[in-house]
């Protein structure tokens, strides 16, 4: 509680400044770490490549080199582009990521807002990125981009539903929509009277976890759900016409969103910042908690990128069929079973 009190003594603009700074740092640093660990290294080893080795020891400065390269590049607008929409689209996409990170707690006091409607708010703002992608697809005045944008809209709307329905199971079991309370519920929970490890909901909500992961993969437009970017068909779809800084924003947005969604998943299903043996509301967890979260984020995002670089891509109709005919009924059944069990026990 000390940290909260400390923060409360500051003026409002000072609090806001600190929050914005930490938010930026947490999103961008995590995104950078994911790019380096997964895209540069893990995937390179999977594809029997070395990955970057020249910039810094083991290529550790490659990320800076890439960012520097993109910043130097010219910011090209297509001649017929809708200039405002084209220019604003990357900001809208990135905004949804930053709004989503607001609801994720990383420790008993290490959180941005402690809202009773936390996960509800998170799922609502995560849909804003659809708007940005549609703006990018439309504003580019490119047929490939338009197809990509339309595909993205259809796909993201279809997969929003299983994502939300998977979360409903967790909310029913925890009895709250407050993200921090969901973590406490998992830490204090027990399965069949055995509560030493708590009850991370991956154990009781395993079906919801799998649905959440699949829907998350689709929300992030990663293979096998990368129809909107589909570089071998649509030449990276809605991103085709972007260059320089704006392309970099899409690129960062992709990885930052992966990190933030993984953070949401780790709060909902893997017990958040909780580790067995340490009380979840101990002061030390304000320091350890973010690190624990980072480990869980890295594990989950590794799953995402592992799948991405292994699987071929679905076709549009197959993708919709999977969502509407399989995932949504399964998620609904999961809700019913969870509800019945919740009432019985």
């Amino acid at each position: 509680m000390n940290a909260t009190l400390l923060l409360a003594e500051l003026a409002y603009w000072q609090q806001t400044g600190i929050r914005v700074g930490i938010g930026l740092a947490s999103v961008l640093l995590v995104a950078g770490a994911l790019v380096y660990m997964h895209l540069f290294k893990a995937v390179s080893f999977m594809q029997s490549r070395l990955g970057p080795m020249e910039a810094g020891p083991y290529g550790s400065l490659q990320l800076l080199a890439e960012v520097g390269k993109h910043i130097q590049k010219e910011d090209i607008f297509p001649r017929n582009a809708d200039r405002f929409v084209f220019a604003a689209a990357p900001f809208v996409v990135l905004a949804s990521t930053f709004l989503l990170v607001v609801v994720v707690p990383a420790g008993p006091d290490a959180l941005f807002i402690n809202s009773e409607l936390g996960i509800y708010l998170g799922l609502a703002v995560s849909s804003v990125s659809v708007l940005g992608i549609l703006m990018a697809g439309w504003g580019s005045s490119n047929k490939y981009s338009l197809l990509g944008g339309l595909r993205a809209t259809g796909q993201l709307i279809a997969y929003e539903l299983p994502l939300i329905l998977a979360v409903v199971g967790v909310v029913i079991q925890a009895g709250t929509m407050n993200m921090a309370d969901i973590v406490y519920a998992q830490a204090n929970g027990e399965i069949f009277g055995f509560g030493a490890l708590g009850n991370p909901y991956i154990l009781t909500q395993g079906v919801a976890f799998v649905i959440f992961l699949i829907a998350m993969q689709a929300e992030l437009a990663q293979a096998p759900f990368d129809m909107p970017v589909a570089e071998s068909e649509l030449v990276t779809g809605y991103m085709t016409e972007y260059s320089g800084m704006r392309f970099l924003m899409f690129f960062i947005g992709e990885f930052a969103t992966a990190g933030v969604f993984a953070a949401v998943a780790s709060v909902l299903f893997l017990g958040g910042w909780y580790v067995p043996g340490i009380a979840p509301d101990a002061d030390i967890m304000n320091v350890l908690g973010p690190l624990v979260m980072l480990v869980k984020i890295v594990v989950l995002t590794f799953l995402i990128f592992w799948t991405r670089f292994t699987m071929p891509r679905f076709r549009e109709d197959q993708l919709q069929r999977l969502a509407w005919k399989f995932l949504i009924p399964l998620a609904l059944a999961n809700i019913v079973v969870t509800g019945v069990l919740k009432v019985t026990f």
């Binding site: 594809q47 029997s48 197809l147 129809m227 068909e233 071929p312 076709r315």
Partner: protein, 393 residues
Amino acid sequence: MTTVTNREQLKYISAQAADARVNLEIETEGMTLNIGPQHPATHGTLRIVAKLDGEQVIAADPVMGYMHRGYEKLSEVRTYPQVTTLINRIDWLGSFANEVPFILAAEQLMEVEAPPRAQWIRTLLFEMSRIANVVLFLGDMAVQVGAVTPVFFAFRDREHVLNQIEAATGGRFHPNFDRIGGLKDDLPRGWIVETKQAMKKMRAFCDEIEDLVMGNEIFQARTRGIGVVPADIGLSYGLSGANIRGSGVDWDVRRDGTTGLGGLVHKELDWRVWTHPDGDSFSRFWVRLQEVRESTKMIDQLLDGIPSGSIMAKVPRIIKVPAGEAFVETENPLGVMGYYVVSKGGLAPFRVKIRSASFNNMSITPWLLTGVYVPDIITILGSLYFILGDIDR
């Protein structure tokens, strides 16, 4: 005074007008999508003009010729040994296989027969260039369907074969090794053992691709029942190679063709022609995978059975081909490739007509692409497997 033709014309015009009215009311409008000439999936400069209704293709028209280099004409001003340098570059992934039918045609005109050892080594390199070519297809097809990783494996393992080709011929991509009457050089020492090891690696690669790509449910969902070519339609469009064998037509020039004087020695080997009854994208992939396996087995047999002796027949220093015409076709990696060589007795051929496989394989695309979805254009093109140099020459 209305004739029947006019009545039909009127009917057509009124139907068009009705269509236009419907389009106006619900405001649908077709879209013309240029796939290519610069598009990652056309691996080269092919252009497909696709008329789309949503994501469905109403009509597709391939535009070829962006890479036309005029090899047929250029051949007429070069001597016979110089022509092989040019035709190496037709199908650049399996270069050696391009040289063989031309050299065989020239040998036929000169009535020279290459010694048995040269024939065996020719067959050996012919099959190795098939592996070098088709292995890349196996990886590339996965990219077209959306999986990025297999193509890196293909490039990695293709290197084993390219290294062996380089060790024997001195050229990784364009060996230019075949000569009228035999070969440029004999095999280097230790090559046979190394090649056997490389073949083992290629078989392991085939198993890996079978696990990683062909066994994948998404890959099967994307390719099974897509781009179906019935056998009779395929034959009428002149499809050849794995494309027609994927439609169940049991026909392979290596087995069924008539090789004249000193051709390739496939008929002395123990192997089989694979066919698949379905005719879809998956079956074309499947047939090619089996053919790579079959080629590695053939190469093992060839390595065991190379006869000893000379690698060059007696040919004059300055090659003059007597007047006459010859047509020789072989089963190249992409399909049947043939050279029709007309000589008037000079140093250079009077006329060379190249029948390349990809040109005919591409000609079916307007028929095949009508009615499919945009993502399927890419998988169908990928499964037909063309090389731009082979289309445009």
